[in-house]
């Protein structure tokens, strides 16, 4: 409540305000993308299969079933300000893995299609439909930068419980 009062009375510094906006932005993006996948899990399953990374069907099903909900959970934690660093680390790990997978797939598609790299467009299963690869990579790097900043930047403003463990 103190933080909310500080925000209302204008005693929140620009750095704090920036940290809050970063956290809310990253949280909102992850809740939205996660929901898009969770609503149509079978469509997501078909897209994940295209990456040809998970070969056993149980593993493929498990990852596909869990990923959207973990994204939603991490997004909600960031929006509420609970376990912010833990959620940000997990988001960073997920984003890093997704980016590598999308990049490899785009390179394979470039091989088969002969199109210029930035003209490659496909539904990467990221929850936003078909995207141009360069734009997707740019977005992912921006989101990764936000997650990294949240890990390094200590701001407890408008947090329900910013850190679960004392640090």
């Amino acid at each position: 409540m103190k933080a909310a009062a500080a925000l209302v009375t204008g005693r929140v510094g620009a750095a704090d305000l920036f940290a809050i906006l970063m956290r809310w932005l990253l949280g909102a993006v992850f809740v939205t993308l996660g929901l898009n996948k969770a609503i149509e899990p079978l469509e997501f399953l078909k897209l994940v299969r295209q990456y040809d990374v998970l070969h056993h069907h149980v593993l493929l099903n498990l990852v596909t079933a869990m990923l959207p909900w973990i994204e939603i959970f991490c997004g909600l934690l960031l929006l509420l300000g609970v376990a912010v660093r833990g959620a940000a680390v997990l988001i960073l790990v997920m984003l890093g893995s997704f980016t590598a997978a999308v990049l490899l797939r785009a390179l394979a598609l470039r091989e088969t299609s002969g199109l210029p790299f930035c003209a490659i467009k496909f539904d990467c299963g990221c929850g936003a439909g078909e995207v141009l690869i360069c734009r997707k990579l740019g977005e992912n790097f921006l989101l990764m930068a936000l997650a990294a900043a949240l890990i390094l930047w200590r701001s407890h403003r408008l947090c329900l419980r910013c850190s679960v463990f004392k640090s």
Partner: protein, 208 residues
Amino acid sequence: MPNAKAVFLETLLVAALGMLLAVTANALSQRGINLRQDYFPGAAKPPVLMPSDTPSVAPPATRDSVNPSNPALKRLRQRGLQLVSRSEVVTLFRDLRYEQGLVVFVDARDDQHYTTGHIPGAWQFYHYRAENYLPAILPVCLTALQVVVYCAGGECEDSEFAAIMLRDAGVPAESLFVYAGGITDWTTHGLPVETGSRRSGVFLAPKP
């Protein structure tokens, strides 16, 4: 700098709770994924899909345009499935046995695509939700002499997965056929299309 141990523990906690939530949500959701079901039976590798806006290099895998090197044809053979051409499908469609239920058409697409337009009289079997369709469709397929399964055509593999699932459920392999051209090939050639439910009697106007 943050305390690395505290951050690590927090990450583990978030991951564990996230996984717990995910498993619970998936189990409770009607749209959830059946973790033990193989949704892609008989599949070794997914086909390399071309990026959108790029015309497919491979022609459609129909025997009306024979191309033995077609990857889809090769894939069908590897999966032990028989291919049926459009002209054969049309002959079967006009066969009296079709009305008698001895020839059965199976549409392997989801509800939205099926109701938008399917081959008149085709049964729907969206194999991703097999439990919803198998009780109705299996007896029909078991009594049929020929079962033709199709999906959208092109790079769509769902007709193959549906056919394999029917085969695994007891439909004789020799009576199962895959129409690889699918509904796209069917509609492109101005053949009749029924909308809504099966035997709704509502047909799309043929393309001029």
